[in-house]
Symmetry: C2
Subunit: 365 residues, 2 copies
Amino acid sequence: MSISNISSPTLLLNEKICRNNIRQMTLKISAASVLFRPHFKTHQSKIIGGWFRKEGIRAITVSSVKMAEYFAADGWEDITIAFPVNLRESSAINKLAGQIKLNILIAGTGIATELNKRLSANVGAWIKIDTGYGRSGIRYDNTADIDSCLSEIGKSAHLSFEGFLSHTGNTYHAGSRNEILELFEHARSCLVDLKDRYIKDQPGLKISLGDTPSSSVCTNFQGIDELRPGNFVFYDLMQEHLGACSLNQVATLLACPVVASYSKRREIIIYGGAIHLSKEFISNSKEERNFGQVALLTQKGWDPLPGSNKVVSLSQEHGIVRLDKEYIGKIKAGDLIGIIAVHSCLTAEAMKSYYSLDGKIIDHM
Amino acid sequence: MSISNISSPTLLLNEKICRNNIRQMTLKISAASVLFRPHFKTHQSKIIGGWFRKEGIRAITVSSVKMAEYFAADGWEDITIAFPVNLRESSAINKLAGQIKLNILIAGTGIATELNKRLSANVGAWIKIDTGYGRSGIRYDNTADIDSCLSEIGKSAHLSFEGFLSHTGNTYHAGSRNEILELFEHARSCLVDLKDRYIKDQPGLKISLGDTPSSSVCTNFQGIDELRPGNFVFYDLMQEHLGACSLNQVATLLACPVVASYSKRREIIIYGGAIHLSKEFISNSKEERNFGQVALLTQKGWDPLPGSNKVVSLSQEHGIVRLDKEYIGKIKAGDLIGIIAVHSCLTAEAMKSYYSLDGKIIDHM
């Protein structure tokens, strides 16, 4: 398929940008002597997984048992499921743990004991620590619960303690680059303190961190054993908004047919809605929502348009795009335009496959 | 599969409630002597389409060419694609229009002329009218553009004028039941005025309206020829919030494994996130977001929990659920709970299939 023949919303992938994002993050993390265990939930692709393999990556992170099965079937043999372990999936966990080195997350007391009753294969166990994000895990200062978890894991025949793992997801709500640095530094020091506290009893314990904003922005990884960013493989409008990347580093674009144009309103209607882009948005200081930034398709890929050229509203399959005066007359029904998604993980999940710029299909789970 | 064996987020469908929703809307609309052309974009299911057929429905609405193909393959022979016609899909439109009675939407001037160049089969053309929603269509008072469109359609060898069609999507932003009534009455009178103005030159022209909030709440359908609501087949939390239904009329529920419980925060973590529920939310007067209402699974289906038992935050695969004091101790990791989605169309689209309460799979495109 050629891009000029696209007739419905299609997710384009610029391989060159994507491979460069992989290479830059690999270089940065290995230069800090930290294990890079990239999160594969953003791309969910065996082909893109192969690009990581070429950079020497052997250990990966996923967010579901199904995703672990998908990548294990492609030869990945060291996988962490970075999601509080789901007791209802223990038979699938047993099967997978019989085939590969599998790690799971214990996000509270009582879980390891319950899990152990259901386990028949050996599984690595990380204790999930909450350093302030407030989603899942044991608070970093709740050493009573951490002690309980360690004791439960210690009594388990099938669980081996890996260390403390945290996700600094609050960096996604940061108001500035500096705030990302502060949040990450806080998380890092919390985990390093825990390492210092428990290393005597638990020799070999590791600490694991890593969201894309902090892995992109921060440089002090001291004491950290592994980092697990994922989104950086594509980046997106949210990451640009946070200061974690530039728009030129964003590797995916939703190509959308234009179906109507209203010059007076300075708006066009695209075939491309919530079921393609997701309802994720960013807001500016005037509380105006941006559901995606416009880009113009070119021979070699696309050029992001600056300023206020953006998706202002999404229905199930429609998007309303507001354009600056200089563009409104030039884009008409029957044309194709590109939208840089706010959250590339959700857009990739919704679209279920990618097209390379030379029209090849790239898999998505 | 039995519900008690569910191990990952699963969309349940209560057939009895769903069939009752279909029957009630059919009775209401046919009692008003209006053609009921239900929108199938919410369920996108051949099996559920069959339930409509049993109620005598023969004409349907869809939101994409692909959806029209899906239902045409199941024997539906009168389909309106209620989306501004996409010139890039004209070859698929030609193919389909050769097989069934197909109607498309003209949402601006110039489109009919461009479309006609590409058409080889006969297609019914509705002029899309904007009565104030501000998404797509020609403003109801812009008779110059309406005249142009009619002239273009008149000159086309393959387009036959059907009438004026509008979607009162602004009812979704209504603050009260009364506001829904007012918005719909405004839309109805705009279309009736257009009918009166053009019927002499265009004998047989029809007017078509119908979103779920107004089709549920309003009773004055005078002058309207057809109604096209779709969401009512399942309803959802948004519709309950708008006063269009009660929670007991909601026919779908996302069953989610509980993976962690934090009593102090009165929060549990579920396996069920943005990729299952979508990021759609409703807000209360305190600007607190609700991404889904909790329900308890029972032998016969589910019971919605009242009050503040709701999803307060969504990540890609996680949801954070806040519970009232009386429930927090009772729900633990390994349990299943139900979430009534804010927007059932988006949740169905994300999940891609349904399970009936007796464990049968129901298709979704």
